[in-house]
């Protein structure tokens, strides 16, 4: 802070980072901060500027668009922020995306060539993220001693201690899970279950306390006979994401190396 008088306090860098941390690469379901996509954060009073780069110039413009919009909306959700300006660099469509997001245009307006909006792709990727997160949540419950029959029958109301908000930060936090007509409870780590619920809510699958928590990738309740297959499909979704993450990490490093080399020449 400088000595100049300000009517409102400006946001802290940590607060901005925290908001950006909630933005995920929709394909990898990992935070853009953890993925090191964010290159720069500049704070000037109530105006925040964020610059980010993706692993390759060829990253899907639709995915880049989603991240840019989410970054803008997350940062602007801070009460101390009036506007967030997002700049995408080193991408084949950096101009369209940067201008479109900051001028608050729709994807279809920013890309007149495209065949419509990005909602369908976003919904599909959210569904994949849900399936992968379900795998972690189910593993945690198996580890806690629940059997498959009990797990597929679980409803939102069977959990006690979930905050219902964003994913729990503390890895030590636990929840109580009631089974056998609430006759007994087991404790399980909260984080994977919170993370799962967050996506399950986003995809509109679990909103009511009576809704079954876990579903097939198609969104149906799980037949106990299909438990193993659904679990394997969840694991497969995770393997797919982490493999793609491996490619993205590699491409990002390779491109940084290439750009540094050409800067040295």
């Amino acid at each position: 802070m400088t000595g100049t008088e300000r009517a409102t306090p400006e946001p802290s860098r940590a607060a901005v980072r925290d908001r950006l941390d909630r933005v995920t690469d929709p394909e990898l379901d990992r935070s853009i901060v953890a993925l090191e996509y964010v290159d720069r954060i500049e704070i000037d009073g109530a105006r925040v500027a964020v610059e980010f780069t993706l692993p390759t110039a060829w990253c899907s413009p639709a995915f880049a668009w989603m991240m840019a919009v989410d970054a803008r909306d997350e940062v602007e959700s801070l009460p101390t922020v009036e506007t967030a300006r997002i700049t995408l660099t080193a991408h084949m469509h950096e101009t369209e995306i940067t201008r479109g997001v900051n001028e608050r245009r729709s994807f279809a307006e920013a890309f007149p060539d495209a065949d419509g909006d990005v909602a369908a792709v976003r919904a599909e990727l959210d569904e994949k993220a849900r399936v992968a997160r379900q795998y972690d949540a189910v593993e945690a419950l198996l580890e806690a001693g629940l059997d498959p029959d009990a797990i597929v029958a679980l409803r939102r109301r069977d959990f006690e201690g979930l905050d219902g908000g964003t994913a729990a930060d503390g890895a030590d936090e636990t929840v109580a899970v009631y089974v056998g007509d609430r006759s007994f409870a087991v404790t399980a780590p909260a984080a994977p279950i919170e993370r799962y619920l967050e996506k399950a809510r986003e995809t509109g699958l679990v909103s009511d306390p009576d809704d079954r928590l876990f579903r097939t990738p198609e969104g149906e309740p799980i037949d106990p006979d299909a438990f193993d297959l659904v679990r394997r499909r969840g694991r497969l979704a995770k393997v797919n994401m982490s493999s793609q993450g491996g490619i993205c990490d590699g491409l990002r490093e390779a491109r940084e190396g290439r750009l540094e080399k050409s800067a040295d020449d």
Binding site: T56, S60, D115, R233, L236, Q244, I247, L251, R258
Partner: protein
């Protein structure tokens, strides 16, 4: 014949290109971005001391290709998969006609595939017939996410695409290689979508659908489809080089593939010149599944599986008689040029378990 722990393995590289990305051939910024992105893939997964310079990488020419593929006997045969990209490159990036020069010079060593784009309408069907007549192509490589004018891509289950697949079935072009992986100019459309393979595969049971790059980054959708359609195969290009610098991830991907598809429907491919088979074949053959994955998935990356994935599965699809090839290669031009006769003179290899 690759020597692996004293055993011979016949290697068919299911995915190779001879491309030209020199400045003179680039017609559009996309062409330059495309080769730079390829080069990032190359350096990401190639051991440092085996990496090429970008200049070599832009155009390596036929002699180098022959030496890289066959010179040290890493590969016995290779299948050309063309990549036209005619909106980006003046003469195309890597067309059937360009590949044909080398394929006709060494017809025993190369398989030449063609390509089609259903957006070309009647003219495209005629072109497909011409390719069939000129080269008797046994397969095609397709890019469903390729931009063309106003179109941002097409689907294998489009009505128009089905006309082309019918033509393939009629002409006996049985192997349909669909590029489903790293993208080519997608916009809002999910260019990685593999769902269109499902309907096409069930509608054309006599054709084989090889999903290149095993659908990465849609491995999950691909495996789910392949588990249900037994004429769907997975090409390992892009997944294979994980063996070099991410062995745990390679183990995991292979375990998934072996569990969902089984060992008969996975095909090795180097994606040359993205990666060189001279080191990649060895990395893949020497790779091991982790004990954790072997236990969890109940699959093995053993000699029999390796033989199938590295050559026998492709041989089945392309009607290649491996034993006849082995005899022919004892004294073909390439074996003489690189002194490889001994590689093919060994004892009769163990019979394939079909």
């Amino acid at each position: 014949m690759y020597q692996h722990n004293g055993e011979e393995i016949f290697v068919i590289d299911g995915h190779v290109h001879l491309w030209d990305a020199t400045a003179e051939n680039i017609d559009h910024d996309g062409g330059e971005e495309f080769i730079q992105c390829f080069y990032d893939y190359h350096t990401t997964f190639t051991p440092e001391d085996r990496q090429w310079s970008i200049e070599e990488y832009r155009k390596y020419g036929p002699d180098r290709m022959v030496e890289d593929l066959f010179g040290n006997a890493a590969t016995d045969m290779a299948i050309f998969q063309p990549t036209y990209l005619s909106d980006f490159y003046v003469e195309g990036f890597n067309t059937t006609e360009q590949n044909a020069d080398l394929a006709t010079e060494y017809p025993e060593r190369f398989v030449l595939n063609g390509s089609f784009d259903p957006r070309d309408g009647e003219a495209g069907l005629e072109y497909l017939e011409e390719l069939h007549e000129a080269y008797d192509i046994p397969g095609v490589k397709l890019y469903t996410a390729e931009w063309r004018g106003d179109s941002k891509g097409w689907r294998l289950d489009d009505e128009e695409a089905f006309r082309y697949l019918e033509k393939c079935a009629e002409l006996g072009i049985e192997n349909i290689h669909a590029h489903k992986g790293p993208t080519i100019r997608p916009l809002n459309r999910d260019a990685f979508d593999v769902a269109d393979v499902d309907d096409a595969a069930s509608s054309f049971p006599d054709l084989n659908f090889i999903v290149e790059h095993v659908g990465l980054p849609r491995l999950d959708d691909f495996c789910w489809i392949a588990a249900q359609e037994n004429n769907v195969y997975g090409g390992l290009a892009v997944a294979a080089p994980f063996a070099q610098n991410r062995p745990g991830k390679f183990s995991e991907i292979m375990s998934e593939l072996l569990w969902w598809l089984g060992e008969d429907r996975i095909l090795f491919g180097s994606d040359y010149a993205l990666w060189n088979p001279d080191w990649l074949v060895e990395e893949v053959l020497e790779a091991e599944l982790t004990q954790e994955h072997r236990t969890e998935y109940g699959v093995e990356w053993d000699l029999e599986t390796k033989r199938k994935v590295m050559g026998e599965n492709a041989a089945d699809l392309y009607d290649i008689d491996i034993e006849a090839k082995r005899r022919a290669f004892q004294d073909d031009e390439i074996s003489r040029e690189f002194g490889l006769g001994d590689h093919y003179a060994g004892e009769e290899p163990a019979a394939a378990d079909d």
